[in-house]
């Protein structure tokens, strides 16, 4: 009887787990019929299994849209594709030491030989060329790129803030169904203060205006939140972000601005 019980002991767990089949299942069920201890154990194990199968996490949806996650993965892949190669120290140190030695020996004599007379040096760069080393076009291009980079960074940070609110699952007041949104309101206020600087990009960021306006509205809502927010408010904000497809638009616009 004891040996029989021990033989079936493991099978009772597997029976409760729903993975026992065929003859093993029939034998174990027959044993359980006549074994009060196994019946109790099976009942308790089934309660454990039922509790796991009733766990709402089984059906949980990812808190961000697929497009946003794809963007994160693509950026990470991009980043890992260009790893900063870490050269061995001696591969760098030996040529560097040789170069320092060469400079110390050769440069003084070269300088003495090549140094022009003061008048000749002044004449080397005509005044007209000196003032136009950077053309206006080049300057405008640089300014445009800077404005677009700034706008891209702004949108990317705003996206992170919105995701942190939409994805929060941390209770701060369980009884009142409130969720912790951490520093998101504070970060939203900081971003809103930077909005004017992005706008100053003018034509360079004209194509981003629609997204920037929608982002601003969403950030204003987050900025007004306390750090411990009613679940309903978080759900409303999440729905709004989803209905405007804001995260996907942020991602696409950030890509466009980054060129």
């Amino acid at each position: 009887m004891i040996l029989d019980h021990l033989r079936h002991h493991r099978r009772v767990s597997l029976l409760a787990a729903g993975v026992l089949g065929g003859a093993e299942r029939d034998e174990t069920l027959a044993h359980v019929e006549g074994c009060a201890r196994c019946r109790t154990e099976l009942g308790e194990l089934r309660a454990v299994v039922a509790a796991m199968e009733a766990d709402p996490l089984r059906e949980a949806e990812p808190p961000v849209p697929l497009a946003f996650l794809v963007g994160r993965v693509e950026r990470e892949v991009e980043r890992t594709l260009v790893p900063a190669a870490r050269p061995r120290w001696w591969l760098v140190a030996l040529p560097a030491a040789a170069a320092v030695l060469a400079v110390a020996v050769l440069v003084p004599s070269l300088v003495a030989r090549l140094r022009p007379a003061p008048e000749a040096a002044r004449a080397a760069i005509p005044p007209s060329e000196a003032s136009s080393l950077l053309t206006e076009d080049a300057l405008a291009r640089i300014e445009r790129n800077l404005a677009r980079e700034h706008a891209a960074r702004y949108l990317s940070e705003a996206g992170e803030v919105l995701v942190s609110v939409a994805a929060t699952g941390v209770d701060c007041d369980r009884a009142d169904e409130r969720l912790d949104v951490g520093r998101a309101p504070e970060r939203s206020r900081e971003l809103l203060e930077r909005r004017a600087l992005v706008q100053a990009g003018g034509e360079a960021v004209a194509s981003a205006r629609g997204v920037l306006d929608d982002v601003e509205m969403a950030l204003r809502e987050v900025a007004d939140l306390p750090s411990c927010v009613k679940r309903g408010d978080v759900d409303r904000l999440r729905q709004e972000v989803e209905s405007r497809q804001l995260l996907m638009r942020i991602r696409l616009m950030t890509r466009e601005l980054e060129g």
């Binding site: 493991r10 767990s13 597997l14 409760a16 787990a17 729903g18 993975v19 154990e41 308790e44 194990l45 309660a47 454990v48 299994v49 039922a50 509790a51 796991m52 199968e53 009733a54 766990d55 709402p56 996490l57 089984r58 059906e59 949980a60 949806e61 990812p62 808190p63 961000v64 697929l66 996650l69 794809v70 994160r72 993965v73 693509e74 990470e76 892949v77 890992t80 994805a167 929060t168 699952g169």
Partner: protein, 204 residues
């Protein structure tokens, strides 16, 4: 019960989006360095991987990070993928391993399970049964189960998550975790025994 649920492969077929190509084709493209294959592969698998990571870690942010890391790793390791194997279990294995790594990192911050008082034993098991207010009951039971799951050794917890949160068969679990069938069975047996004792207030 688990028997009625589809297997991994069946679900992968159901999840197939329009025009995305099959798993094998997508993996082959990934192995060739085609980054465009990432999005359709993610579309097929990200929900399931998210649920595996979430069931293991119980933290949405951590689970999302793990899914992201899993797909980056899949891209990096695609050239080493055995073309005859299913991509689903392979991705599950990456996700479980990353979840275990993340769990180890978070361990210091993790809550420790406080066993229930001995006289709560009967009530504790009764509380796990279905009740009229299923939503509240489900959430409370979920929290109790989460605390009990935290007491399990890492691999045992992985077996339980794949079996009872993903409805995977023992063979699929063995494939995904690189374990023998016998080890999966004994892990499941030990894990359920521990969970039963934890939830009933005994010492695991």
């Amino acid at each position: 019960m688990g028997g009625s649920a589809g297997t991994w492969s069946n679900e992968a077929i159901q999840m197939e989006p329009s025009g995305g190509g099959g798993d094998r084709e997508l993996m082959a493209r990934l192995a060739a360095g085609d980054r465009e294959a990432l999005a359709p592969l993610m579309e097929r698998h990200y929900r399931r991987l998210y649920r595996i990571a979430l069931s293991y870690l119980r933290q949405p942010d951590d689970a999302l990070d793990v899914v992201q890391e899993a797909f980056v790793k899949a891209f990096q390791s695609a050239s080493r993928w055995d073309g005859s194997a299913e991509a689903g279990p392979w991705l599950a294995r990456i996700t479980v391993n990353l979840s275990i790594d993340r769990w180890r990192r978070n361990r210091r911050r993790a809550q420790t399970f406080t066993p229930l008082a001995e006289n709560d034993r009967v009530q504790a098991l009764a509380d796990l049964s279905p009740a009229p207010d299923r939503r509240v009951q489900g959430r409370e039971a979920g929290e109790r189960v989460a605390a009990a799951l935290r007491t399990l050794p890492e691999r045992q917890r992985a077996v339980v998550v794949l079996r009872h949160y993903q409805d995977m068969s023992l063979e699929e679990i063995a494939g995904a975790l690189g374990m023998s069938l016998g080890t999966v069975k004994s892990s499941l047996h030990r894990a359920l025994g521990r969970l039963r004792l934890s939830l009933a207030g005994g010492r695991p």
